[in-house]
């Protein structure tokens, strides 16, 4: 789904070299690494907000640089770490913004759109917040709404920048389960950055590790203990 041909990411200089060739459908990948190691840069590169510094990035066999916004919005959804606190918008309308790529200029929801939005909200247990205003929510509820919005965008690739940062323990587990479930049942390719190494080490077999000091992005496969993850991520080895 996401292929890397000798890719170096970075803004003005090569920051990290991607040491693997592909992220595939059907998997949820955790992205770990120190602060400032380049996790967000990696997510921004894949989502097309910045171009790879070197090499070729292929999304669904298309060169990422050649994909126009409209196509990209049906391939990739992106959840930023912080959702802006917007006033005067209900949770339903906010989640519904994920349907933007499928609407015409007048922006009217079809019956199908509404069903998809409802489903996305119920998957994250926020259906009861439907009519609430976004600026009245807690940080965690707002984060869940942003994730629901990405789900309603129905893209094969979902990128999440620290989706669990504001969540309590139970909702962290919920999001992790949801992410794994979506990847399996709907055959999506999901990549999320996180600092929750406990959860990653017990639950995931696919981890991308940004090693800032070595200037490398590595793919770690198989269940890995937390200690080992810390060693790799924080460059003790």
């Amino acid at each position: 789904m996401i292929r890397f041909e000798n890719v170096n990411i970075g803004y003005h200089e090569a920051l990290l070299k991607v040491k693997f060739t592909e992220l595939t459908r059907g998997h949820a990948y955790a992205l770990i690494g120190e602060n400032g190691s380049g996790k967000s840069t990696f997510l921004k590169t894949i989502s097309g907000q910045i171009s790879p510094f070197e090499g070729r990035l292929l999304i669904n066999d298309l060169d990422s640089n050649g994909i126009v916004n409209k196509e990209r919005s049906r391939l990739i959804s992106f959840v930023p770490t912080q959702t802006a606190v917007i006033s005067n918008i209900s949770v339903f309308d906010f989640v519904g913004l994920g349907r933007t790529p499928y609407l015409n200029a007048l922006g009217r929801f079809s019956k199908k759109d509404i069903e998809i939005i409802e489903l996305a909200m119920s998957q994250l247990n926020i259906s009861h917040l439907r009519q609430k205003m976004l600026n009245e929510l807690s940080d965690g509820e707002r984060q869940l709404s942003a994730i629901a919005s990405a789900i309603s965008q129905e893209t094969p690739i979902i990128l999440l920048d620290e989706p669990t940062s504001y969540l309590d323990y139970r909702n962290k587990l919920l999001v992790l389960e949801k992410v794994k479930d979506l990847a399996k049942t709907q055959n999506k390719c999901i990549l999320f950055s996180t600092h929750d190494l406990d959860m990653v080490s017990e639950n995931l077999e696919t981890v991308v590790c940004a090693r800032g000091k070595n200037k490398q992005l590595e793919l770690l496969l198989g269940k890995i203990s937390k200690e080992k993850l810390i060693e790799v991520a924080f460059n003790f080895v």
């Binding site: 916004n69 990209r72 049906r74 005067n88 209900s90 933007t100 200029a105």
Partner: protein, 321 residues
Amino acid sequence: MICFFAIILFAFLHLFSGTIQISFSDFINGLFKYDSENVNQIIVRNFRLPRMMMAIVSGAGLSVAGLLMQNLFNNPLAGPNILGISTGSSLFVAFSIMSGIPFFVSDIGIIASALIGAMLFGLIILAFSLFTKSHSSLLLIGIMIGSFSGALVSILQSVSDAQELKIFTIWAMGSLQQVEFGQLFLIQTIFIIGVGLTFLLIRAMNALVLGSNQASLLGINIRMVRILVIGITSILTGLITAFCGPIAFVGLAVPNLVKIIFKTQNHKVLILGSIAIGAIFMLICDIFVQLLDKYIHLPINAITSMLGAPFIVFIILKKLK
């Protein structure tokens, strides 16, 4: 729906408020069986009706333009004047008045130069928008262009004589009475095209609430939207400034009021709301101007802020409770 009935209601109230009492039949005749000998009919056709239409066009047009600007720049303090489009108009009007050439000092001359000024400055800001990626830099450039031309206007004012200064000052106070019946058709056509185009931006404007970065990830062509927004704003603001002078406040206040009243970010509702509330607001303000006309002649610009500002503060305070 209620709003649109209210527009019609206030439009009627507006038509009948004025220092001279006019019967209903004169109104009908003034429109359909125009008799140029009848003084009342002349008043209807040449003064009342154009003035009413201009109140609606300017109120609705400036409000929609303000809504577009606030959305594009993600800033509730933005308004149709923010990019220096109406200052551009002022500059050209100041030039033409100070030039002393009779044609330019005439009504048509002033209208023409205001239109040219608005369009030219709209084009300048559009050109800049092609090169700047960030919206806040574009906003800053707009404000800079605005203050630069504002300074030029001051210089022109300081070197002009009393008579020229008076003409310019009166123009700058804004007025809904400069339009003639024959010009209405053109004005309305441009107005309808401008406002109609905004409806094609509903999807993009809804997504832009998330900021231009997220909107672009949702498949919105930000550059295209920007060009359209600036284009539409220049047309609407330029048109209204040309015929009514630089009317302040409405474009800034009404969109904010509409968001408070309708509690939504769905721009279909917000655009319709801005049209309705903007038109009603201008009609009410101008009714006041007409009612007070017996005692004192007030410029529309003074009334909009004097009535509007306390009202908006009241609404905001009420909402905080």
